[in-house]
Assembly symmetry: C2
Homo-oligomer: 216 residues x 2
């Protein structure tokens, strides 16, 4: 179930509680509200402990990203035989999950944080966020797409290219708009459905197209 070597003991329970409070402060008030004094006060710990555990403020930020990523786990593809209908459904579920994750409070706050620091620290946080937070979702989608190809339902040369196309169809500019503060999208289900329909039209084999035509 857990695809990564996800040792949940990266931090102690006490430290996890502190990181949880830090994330809450970040979500509520942005980076400016995330002061070391504020975290210590909110988490009922001392600043000295913060610096012992996390080194400095940047270490705290990194730990927050690592901790949050460790909470978001995704399921591996089980080995079931894919049909056109089940591929479509799995893709729609993936699309909805992706939009839901990207629109999440904590995700948006951490992305804003990493983006804000990206030209200050050489994008250290950005790299961390992409590695820890994105790999799960990437692997899930790639697995799904590969399975679709093996089942003769999808046709493509470059799996990575196909995945990026799927991602773009699902997300479009919604992520950046939400990062800029625009209120979240209203109808994620419709958006997910549209994206998957388009993706299947681009990469589906005759098998998929026939079934789609039959059901529509």
């Amino acid at each position: 179930m857990l695809s990564e070597a996800g040792q949940s003991s990266e931090f102690s329970p006490r430290q996890n509680a502190v990181l949880e409070q830090a994330l809450r402060l970040l979500v509520d008030g942005g980076e400016k509200a995330l002061t070391t004094s504020g975290v210590a006060r909110a988490a009922n710990c001392s600043k000295e402990s913060l610096y012992k555990w996390f080194g400095d403020r940047d270490g705290l930020l990194s730990a927050m990203i690592t901790y949050q990523a460790s909470k978001v786990r995704t399921f591996e593809r089980n080995g079931e035989r894919l049909t056109a209908a089940s591929l479509h459904d799995h893709l729609v579920v993936f699309a909805r999950d992706l939009l839901e994750v990207l629109a999440g409070d904590v995700s948006l706050a951490l992305n804003r944080l990493a983006i804000g620091q990206s030209n200050r620290d050489g994008s250290k946080l950005g790299k961390l966020l992409l590695e820890r937070g994105r790999r799960q979702i990437d692997r899930r989608a790639s697995g799904l797409i590969d399975a679709g190809k093996r089942a003769g339902l999808l046709r493509f040369l470059d799996a990575d290219e196909a995945y990026h196309t799927l991602y773009g169809l699902i997300v479009s500019d919604l992520h950046v708009r939400m990062l800029l503060g625009e209120p979240g999208l209203k109808d994620t289900s419709r958006q997910a459905e549209r994206a998957v329909t388009a993706f299947l039209k681009l990469y589906g084999t005759e098998k998929v197209l026939a079934e789609a035509a039959a059901t529509v």
Copy 2:
């Protein structure tokens, strides 16, 4: 040519020079490097003048966005008759321009700035950035898509939906990745070509598809 009521006298030449220096500081060192003292020093003006001209620091940031947006002007569609080939070419040029704009130093810096402030000031800068910076490119693409429909080359129900699909196909997650500090994309031309090909496969009429099949 200028579609907006773009009075270039929004700021005085002296103020424009100051804003130029402020943008340079922002691009070089991120938001943290953009201090009022630093701007005053770099632009050889006094802090008192800064506050007289722009009110406060937020006013300076807004002015920077407005100024930068006023520099990026785009051409309106001329009334030429679209063919399948010219539509394709115009779309590719648009895609390349879009990627080039999004990957620009100043654009990335301003987007990072607005995103960093988005949960502090009620996304005032984010709104400004979307309105001033995005409307031009939106209008250009919408005009192109509408012209394609009028010429019988594209088929869609919702023009906005078609445009967002095009945007997602072109940009995918590149914008966010660049905002997070990842080095820019290596091959914008190929990316643009792929996006337009996919877009035409999704929204093109038989007329376009026939020509595409003939040329490929």
